[in-house]
């Protein structure tokens, strides 16, 4: 006897607990196995690139916060870095160090969310709460220095908005000293758990060649063993003065993608510690005119954000408003290979794979 079976469509999202926002995947399923996957982004498209064209250069900064809202500092940085390149502005050393400190704090915060949300995706909600408990300390620190938790708009063209407040350095050091204990806890609760390992190891293995070909970046690329971290490969700001390693995965499976983030947090903490030690005195803002009017021309600059390579392309026509701004959002590009990665895996793996890429929908849809 032959049983007639049929494939069926499952509409995962846009409202779904595990798509990390409003992301939709149209799955063609054979039982529980994915035959075809069609990702549909765009539910959070706000047209930031178009909005930027009618704002002045400084006014774009608050909008960049809303790209990757889990690491708004890094998004600020990517944008102001491009404008500074366009205008040839020298950024004072102290400002660069402050940028490194807050940027790395934002990176840890973003990775904490990624780690916790991944644990929740796999089904362990407690890990999620633990990471958010520790992220709260970073949020406090960022609030202290910028006045806002998620959307700091702290960086300015040529420097930062305000100097480090009293008590910030001590609090920051306390957090950096505490972080290894927290990571130990995550390792015990999440990483070391056999069920977690069974769920993530050897799932959706991504080869280094394919990852490079598909322009993947950030922890997703490095999990496949590709040593490409802009902070090392093309040091911007003052990253060439710090000693740190680039954690690499070996296999390129979901577990590696998850674990690379945990290791990166340790390295970020190391960078922050060095930056706090070396922090020079001096001005926090370079010589920038009050009204920013870059010369006619264009600039493309990249930084390493928590999700991958964040590039900003700015075209100036000599007026106070940018003629064209484009953001190369790492989450968006990293999703380009999702449809192929999902093929042949179970519904539960769809969640695990999507979670391991660590997307933020604000960034994907811009």
């Amino acid at each position: 006897m032959t049983i007639k079976t049929e494939e069926f469509l499952l509409n995962l999202g846009p409202q779904h607990p595990s798509t990390h926002g409003v992301f939709r995947i149209i799955l063609t399923l054979d039982g529980e196995t994915v035959v075809k996957a069609v990702p549909v982004p765009g539910y959070l498209h706000r047209g930031i690139e178009k909005l930027a064209e009618s704002r002045t250069y400084t006014q774009v900064i608050p909008y960049t916060d809303r790209l990757d809202y889990l690491a708004g500092m890094l998004m600020n940085w990517g944008y102001v870095y491009a404008v500074e390149k366009l205008m040839n502005v020298e950024v004072p050393e102290r400002a660069e160090y402050i940028r490194v400190i807050v940027g790395e704090l934002a990176r840890i915060a973003s990775h904490l969310v990624a780690t916790g949300a991944y644990a929740a995706d796999i089904g362990g909600l407690t890990g999620f709460i633990y990471t958010f408990r520790d992220r709260e300390d970073i949020m406090d620190l960022l609030e202290m220095i910028s006045g806002a938790r998620l959307t700091p708009s702290y960086m300015r063209i040529g420097g930062v908005a305000a100097d480090i407040p009293d008590g910030f350095i001590e609090k920051c050091r306390r957090f950096i000293d505490y972080l290894p204990d927290a990571i130990e806890e995550y390792n015990g609760l999440i990483t070391g758990n056999e069920i977690f390992q069974a769920r993530t190891k050897n799932v959706a293995v991504l080869s280094a060649e394919k990852a490079i070909d598909m322009s993947l970046s950030g922890p997703v690329l490095r999990a496949s063993g590709v040593n490409y971290d802009l902070r090392k490969a093309r040091p911007y700001s003052v990253y060439d003065r710090f000693e740190f390693e680039v954690p690499l995965g070996t296999k390129g499976d979901c577990f590696d993608r998850y674990y690379v983030r945990l290791l990166e947090m340790e390295q970020s903490a190391k960078i922050i510690r060095q930056a706090l030690d070396q922090l020079p005195e001096g001005p926090i803002k370079g010589k920038v005119p009050k009204v920013i009017k870059p010369p006619k021309g264009e600039a493309y600059a990249e930084i390493e954000s928590s999700k991958g390579i964040m590039g900003t392309y700015v075209v100036s026509d000599g007026s106070t408003n940018p003629y064209r701004v484009h953001f190369r959002r790492p989450s968006f590009v990293n999703l380009g290979y999702l449809d192929e990665m999902l093929k042949g895996w179970k519904i539960a793996d769809v969640i695990a794979i999507l979670g391991s890429i660590d997307i933020v929908l604000g960034e994907v849809d811009a």
Binding site: S215, V315, V333
Partner: protein, 147 residues
């Protein structure tokens, strides 16, 4: 592998492709008809294996597509531009060379309205499928908004 300095590569490329213009900042402007050959040469003979960014800008008379290519683990980077006719905006797709262009070219198609020849899956990506205009064009006028 040891890389040749960027200036040498530029010189070599300039002699190979006479249509290529080099600006002061090192931006290469490549005519659209030699783009595929040029890019393939870059990837296969010079090791530029990583396409970071694809985007486009509207200059009212013409479009410009912008490509940023680099080498994994190396500081080398090229900023490459192509002028596209505004009345029939068609450029060859980079997907056969770098797979990473797939979503970025869809985004450019969606928001700027530039068609990429030989793209395997050229659909709108961020906007609704029923949308007819391309909002990042400079002549796009939106209605509504507040007050």
């Amino acid at each position: 592998m040891s890389q040749k300095p960027l200036s040498e590569i530029v010189e070599e490329l300039r002699s190979k492709y006479p249509g290529v213009e080099v600006s002061e900042q090192g931006t290469l402007t490549v005519p659209p008809d030699t783009l595929v050959a040029f890019m393939r040469d870059l990837k296969e003979n010079y090791g530029f294996n990583y396409l970071t960014n694809v985007t486009a800008a509207d200059y009212m008379e013409y479009f410009e597509t912008v490509y940023d290519v680099s080498i994994v683990g190396e500081p080398h980077m090229f900023h490459i531009k192509t002028k596209v006719d505004r009345n029939s905006p068609v450029v060859p797709s980079m997907v056969p060379i770098w797979g990473g262009a797939i979503w970025q070219e869809r985004e450019v198609y969606d928001l700027m309205g530039i068609t990429f020849k030989d793209h395997p899956d050229l659909r709108r990506i961020l906007l609704d499928d029923a949308w007819t205009e391309h909002p990042l064009r400079k002549d796009y006028k939106y209605e509504g908004g507040r007050e």
